[in-house]
Amino acid sequence: MTTGVGPLVRFDRVVKRYGDHVVLDELDFTVRRGEHVTLIGPSGSGKTTILRLLMTLEKVSDGVIWVDGSPLSHVRAANGSLKPAGEKQLRESRKKIGMVFQQFNLFPNMKVLQNITEAPVSVLGMDRDEAESRARELLDLVGLAGKTDAHPSQLSGGQQQRVAIARALAMRPEILLLDEVTSALDPELVAGVLDLLSDIARSTDITMLCVTHEMNFARDVSEKVLMFDAGRVVESGTPEKIFSDPEHERTREFLAAVL
């Protein structure tokens, strides 16, 4: 089903409801392969929900998310219609996608190295030696070469988030989801993590969807900015366009509040 042409990610009239509360309202947007997209918008506008749907941590209420031409969380029934996928297929879908969380969510019972090797070994079936040597390379990349045997609790927030980034990269995701990954960090640790992410954006072909309030970072790294409000895309465009010359009043208000 790999098509290569067409968008890598396509939200097709995606609806997400919690009870009566409509969080995403027939949302449509696309992301090209290799693109770095920043999602901005006021708190509660549905940004986290979008990433969680893509990570299959939540189920869509309606509509379809397409990844690389295949439905992410649906399977085709015999009559050609789409029905919700089972856990096994969801696990397959997830392999292409990695996520870094605001609160890091490292496994506190494992040392740093095992945090990174766990999934390559138990999901990809990589042998332990290879997984470990790759983990060391990744720790080197994120600037934590000496910390293989540390426990997460012995690391600063910034270091923990670097490990979480290395852990996500170890699965060689095609798509990396970043949900306000610096908002739980002490201010002096933010720049280092953002620099690391810029490096990764420049030096890899990983497609990134990034929720952030760091507008300079968004300007540096992304080719496209999507402005959300109330579960819909208010406007989208290059960072230059959105930040310097927004079309919509709602965007102007939002930017005035955060910049």
Binding site: M55, M99, Q103, L106, P108, S122, R167, A168, M171
Partner: protein, 213 residues
């Protein structure tokens, strides 16, 4: 009553210690059964299918709402050809599993949601998520509570005397009857329990501290 007979006490001691070995053995094996079975029950209680969760809940509810003594006597009657100690250990283990499963359940609930989500985001299979991520954290959180149940079980082992397991209180009663020295035999048995329990609870408190509770 003509005072405490120290000679009788000294006389009874070797017999009681013999019984104490059985007491300890029953406690250790019973705790093992309770620890393993309780964990299995807690995990099964989270199964997606009601075909699993409903029977598991019914059985634990039954075990919890009937007295240990009744369970012991009932099991001994049903399994009359099985060695009493074996029956005793299994009944103790099953009885306590109904409680330790609750402890584990709380421990599992105490693992932050972000841990499940991180495991899912890495596509870890369910089995690995439990083994490598959830249970190590849950068990660590509940070790002190499990230890407390082990101590309770220890103090309930005298019930095993009812189904003729020759643990310490069984021996104390026998000695008391043969030598008309109940007071001495039971006082001594009580002391042995005290001497064994006290360091154990100190140890438990140390463990709790180390785990940061």
């Amino acid at each position: 009553m003509n005072g405490f007979d120290w000679n009788a006490a000294g006389d009874a001691l070797p017999l009681l210690l013999e019984g104490f070995r059985v007491t300890l053995l029953a406690t250790v094996l019973g705790t093992l059964v309770a620890a393993v079975l309780g964990l299995a029950v807690a995990v099964a209680g989270r199964a997606p299918s009601r075909l699993v969760t409903l029977p598991v809940r019914a059985v634990t509810e039954f075990v919890r709402s009937t007295p240990l003594l009744v369970q012991l006597v009932g099991a001994a009657a049903v399994f009359s050809s099985v060695e009493p100690l074996t029956v005793g250990v299994v009944v103790l283990g099953v009885h306590y599993a109904a409680y330790t499963s609750e402890v584990y359940r709380a421990g599992i609930d105490g693992v932050p949601r972000g841990q499940w989500e991180a495991a899912r985001a890495l596509s870890l299979p369910a089995r690995r998520t439990w083994q490598a991520v959830i249970l190590p954290q849950a068990v660590r959180n509940v070790l002190p509570a499990l230890g407390n149940y082990a101590v309770s079980m220890f103090k309930e082992t005298p019930f095993l005397a009812v189904i003729t397991v020759q643990e310490m209180v069984f021996e104390a009663r026998r000695y008391g009857a043969e030598h008309f020295a109940y007071t001495e035999a039971f006082t001594l048995a009580g002391l042995v329990f005290l001497v064994a329990s006290y360091p154990t609870s100190l140890l438990m408190r140390k463990l709790e501290k180390r785990l940061g509770h």
